[in-house]
């Protein structure tokens, strides 16, 4: 994922989901914050992943972003890896 503009990375992930099998790992380790656009993109991504039975793993999510995802009720829709 492009860490400077994660929304692009998420968009890309969404596009690549068709060809994906099993699980897709998104690397958040370079990312300090997310914005409302990212959240919208992640909601879409989660919905698409559910549809295609692909597991999405968010890697390297910091505590601040994890808390945002928690408040946005998105943590149950992704897997997390260190």
């Amino acid at each position: 994922m492009n860490t400077d503009r994660p929304i692009d990375g998420l968009q890309q992930a969404l596009e690549n989901l068709d060809g994906a099998r099993g699980e897709v790992v998104l690397d958040f380790s370079g990312r300090q914050r997310i914005d409302p656009g990212d959240i919208q993109a992640m909601e879409k991504l989660a919905a698409a992943a559910d549809e295609k039975a692909v597991k999405i793993v968010l890697q390297g999510v910091n505590v601040a972003i994890y808390k945002v995802l928690k408040l946005a009720k998105l943590t149950t829709r992704f897997a997390f890896a260190a």
Partner: protein, 881 residues
């Protein structure tokens, strides 16, 4: 969801859900922002609001037809500039306040999504204010404006939102319901993702907010009484009242409603009001006015009058007034529903009422206050500080404005240093959750982090301790005009008093007070204090065992502080630093207490404790305070050389138990440990010698020192469960204190050395170490052993051997107490032991069932100790040192 939302269309619900969704996302994202991020957004928002202050005022006037354009513009400026001035340096993100001396840090946690209702009377200013609150506190606000003011509010939200987002605020941070309805409000008030309802407005909105079941910040209407007292600066007061009451045509809910005027200035005040542009209504006009602008059904103001000009209201009512009339003043004769104009009037109509005394004036103000204005605002004009304070105490108002206008005064920041706000909390009187001027802190969850504090410790001992043979000679150094020697008849007969007299400086008047050799009774203390007063004593020498010295301590207390209530001073306490009852510090008489001990056990010559027997009430009173400690202790073994064997054993064991319990106490410190350990060493070595060879001067001397040293330890570290058990058992079966302690001792060591069922809560406890302290004692005594468990076992064995050598009975049963009798006494024993304060410093917190088991273990006797609870000692892994 309430039934009222059933009428919402699907489209409307989707619309409202979209507002919540945006707000929820914004609130989540906002949690990542720093203080600097937030402050970077607030300032340009404020500037944007300021720039549009007049335009927003115009929009509000056009839409609501209420108020005064110029005043609304000023309100918009106060809501931005003044509020910014207050919040700009406030920390609202992360650590917002730190109290290093208390080890406490307060951290801000945003609330999340706030549904905020705003009023028709102050529409745009309230929105501007709340937008600043939202950004400063990292919350997302959904605004629900009054339906009659939603367009101007939506514009205010738009201006603030654009400025905020432009400078980095998350999208969706503010939204505003368009064409709002009560159903919309109800839907959002019950929405699961709305965290707080923030209702500023009429009682209906506030009530709905509080009824929603959500956390709510609802602040509502008022009815401001004003007391115009005869000493007031009248010219200033009248201008202030008119300024305030006409400000925005009286729409601020803190504005003046009824002015209670002292009789002495009533007429002149009304004349001056008229000179300043008020119309004074005659009785008929007042009646018509009241009937028209106040709804006779519910006693509330008619909406058509709210925010209108005085002349327009006059025209509406049919009054003939001058064209430049600012205010309609209606004299009324009382307050209540029968005087309609004594109710809240958010328009330029002011009731006035004559008061013939301060008392009457205050009562009238209280009446106004209780007629719909509880918790809101009250105003007084006076130069009499005492009356101002009386007024403050009489009225129930969150804002009591002194010598300044009510409405602008209550807003804060203009006429006074109150927090600027557009939301007045009215406390429980007004059915609100706060009485404050609502500000940033009301929109935050404030988390408090508390670091473990280390309890302050101390080591307090008498100023001077003289010890070793003939230490009594040091009495020569203490000059005194009048001295009383408190002792008992036996010691006097033994010639001990003569020895003491020999060393008291010759110019001293010396009297002897011989008291019974038993725990002092109240009447003994009373007689003693009479003697001290009679001889105007400046020095007391207590010569005796614990009972005599305790009596002298209490006599000193009552002599120095006659008002001291012993019953009250004996009140229980958990922590001496936080005790409810304080010992007197004011002293009528100052007296020196010199304690010369004639037993080697209690250590009363250096302790801050004294026990008094109240025979009339059949109880003991235990006093504990460092002010009871003798000023001088003399530990001279010549006074114990002839102690009987049994007394030597019993008091010697008391000394050993003091040291052992202080050693494992939760209040033990390096200071007390050094004393406790030394006392243990001396007692183990010299007690058997003193017992077997009573004339052994060295042994007597060392045991006398040991008792004093152990007392220094337990005076500061306290004792433990051994004493709690011994106190209960000794009192019930009339067994000497030292002997009762001895019977419990091995069982208590075993008990404390094992893993506690309950740990004692104390910041001083940094892991369970009692068993290790016992092992250290075993090492000190050279008992051998490798592991902690072995060492504790050796200490237990050595203790039992010592008790055997002192011919202490091996069990309670050996005292001749039958099992049945003991069993019958058990409930009382257990209760009294548990009530005893001694165990509160024990390393293990004893359960009542454990106290019972310890009693039974002592009943069965020595050699049974391990069965009482020492089945397993903590391993290295289980303890933290």
């Amino acid at each position: 969801m309430p039934e009222s939302v059933a009428s919402l269309s699907d489209d409307r619900i989707r619309y409202l859900e979209n507002l919540v969704s945006q707000a929820r996302t914004a609130a989540a994202v906002f949690t990542q922002y720093t203080q600097e991020d937030v402050d970077r957004i607030v300032k340009p928002m404020v500037l944007a609001g300021l720039a549009q202050a007049q335009q927003l005022a115009r929009l509000a006037i056009d839409e609501t037809k209420l108020g005064v354009l110029e005043d609304k513009a000023i309100k918009n400026m106060v809501a931005t500039e003044f509020v910014y001035n207050y919040v700009k340096d406030k920390r609202t993100v992360g650590a917002i306040r730190e109290f290093p001396e208390r080890g406490v840090v307060e951290l801000a946690e945003p609330i999340g999504v706030v549904f905020s209702l705003t009023p028709i009377t102050n529409p745009t200013s309230t929105v501007l204010f709340k937008c600043i609150m939202a950004i400063k506190t990292r919350n997302a606000f959904i605004f629900g404006p009054h339906p009659g003011a939603w367009r101007c509010c939506a514009e205010a939200v738009r201006i603030m939102y654009e400025a905020a987002v432009k400078h980095g605020a998350p999208e969706g941070v503010f939204t505003c319901i368009e064409s709002p309805t009560l159903q919309d409000n109800a839907y959002l008030m019950h929405h699961k993702d709305v965290a707080l309802i923030d209702a500023t407005g009429g009682w209906g909105a506030v009530k709905a907010a509080y009824s929603s079941g959500k956390p709510a910040l609802g602040v509502g209407p008022g009815n401001t009484p004003v007391y115009l007292e005869k000493t007031a600066d009248l010219d200033m007061a009248l201008v202030d009242i008119i300024t305030s009451k006409t400000f925005d045509n009286g729409t601020i809910c803190a504005s003046e409603q009824t002015v209670v005027i002292d009789d002495e200035i009533y007429d002149v005040a009304l004349r001056k009001f008229a000179e300043l542009g008020a119309h004074i209504c005659n009785p008929k006009e007042t009646q018509v006015l009241g009937r028209t602008v106040i709804d006779p059904e519910n006693g509330r103001m008619q909406p058509m009058a709210v925010g209108q000009k005085a002349t327009d209201i006059a025209r509406l009512v049919g009054l003939s007034v001058k064209p430049d009339t600012k205010l309609l003043i209606a004299p009324i004769q009382g307050v209540g529903r029968e005087y309609p104009l004594s109710a809240e009037k958010l328009f330029p109509v002011l009731a006035v009422c004559r008061a013939r005394s301060v008392d009457e004036a205050l009562k009238l103000c209280v009446d106004v206050n209780h007629l719909g204005g509880l918790g809101h605002t009250a105003v007084i004009f006076s130069r009499d500080d005492e009356i101002i304070r009386k007024f403050g105490e009489a009225v129930n108002a969150g804002r009591i404005i002194v010598n300044s206008p009510g409405s602008i005064g209550a807003l804060g920041g203009v006429y006074n240093d109150m927090v600027p706000t557009f939301s007045f909390g009215c406390g429980t009187g007004g059915g609100n959750s706060t009485m404050d001027n609502v500000n940033v802190y009301h929109y935050l969850n404030i988390k408090r982090m508390a670091w473990r504090t280390q309890a302050h410790m101390w080591f307090r001992v008498p100023n001077q301790i003289y010890f070793n043979m003939n230490a009594v000679e040091n009495l020569r150094d203490f000059s005194s005009r009048s001295t009383i020697v408190v002792t008992n008849p036996a010691l006097e007969q033994m010639g001990y008093v003569d020895i003491v007299r020999r060393y008291i400086p010759p110019q001293t008047l010396v009297k002897v007070l011989a008291i019974p050799d038993a725990e002092p009774e109240v009447k003994v203390v009373t007689q003693g204090v009479e003697a001290l007063n009679f001889y105007k004593v400046d020095q007391i020498i207590a010569l005796g065992g614990g009972s005599v010295i305790d009596a002298a301590k209490i006599m000193k207390l009552k002599y120095e502080s006659p008002e001291a209530d012993l019953e009250e001073l004996a009140a229980p306490f958990l922590d001496i630093r936080k005790r409810v009852v304080q010992y007197p510090t004011e002293k009528v008489n100052r007296v020196r207490l010199i304690a010369i001990s004639t037993t080697s056990g209690t250590g009363s010559e250096v302790t801050p404790f004294a026990v008094l027997t109240d025979k009339e009430r059949g109880r003991k009173v235990t006093l504990a305070d460092y002010s009871l400690s003798p000023d001088v202790a003399i530990v001279d073994p010549q006074f114990v050389m002839s102690m009987p064997k049994r007394l030597t054993a019993d008091t010697g064991i008391d000394c050993l138990v003091h040291a052992l319990e202080a050693g494992v106490s939760i209040h033990a410190s390096a200071y007390t440990d050094s004393n406790a350990m030394q006392a243990i060493r001396l007692a183990f070595k010299y007690l058997p010698i003193a017992y077997e060879n009573p004339r052994d001067e060295e042994a007597r001397s060392m045991m006398h020192n040991a008792a004093c040293i152990a007392a220094l330890a337990f005076s500061n570290a306290s004792v433990g469960v051994n004493h709690a058990l011994a106190h209960a058992f000794g009192a019930r079966f009339g067994v000497a204190h030292g002997r009762a302690n001895a019977l419990m001792l091995p069982h208590v060591i075993a008990y404390n050395a094992s893993v506690p069922t309950k740990f004692m809560p104390s910041p001083n406890v940094r892991g369970y170490i009692a068993h290790k302290k016992y092992a250290t004692m075993a090492d000190l005594l050279g008992l051998g052993g490798v592991t902690v468990e072995e060492k504790v076992a050796r200490l237990l064995e050595a203790t039992e051997q010592l008790l055997d050598r002192l011919e202490i009975p091996r069990s309670i049963a050996e005292l001749g107490i039958s099992r049945d009798e003991f069993e019958r006494a058990m409930p009382e024993l257990a209760k009294n032991a548990f009530d005893d304060p001694s165990w509160r410093s024990n390393p293990r917190m004893p359960l009542v069932s454990e106290l019972v088991e310890l009693f039974w273990s002592a009943y069965r006797g020595r050699g049974q100790a391990k069965a009482a609870g020492a089945s397993r000692q903590p391993t290295e892994m289980e303890v933290c040192v």
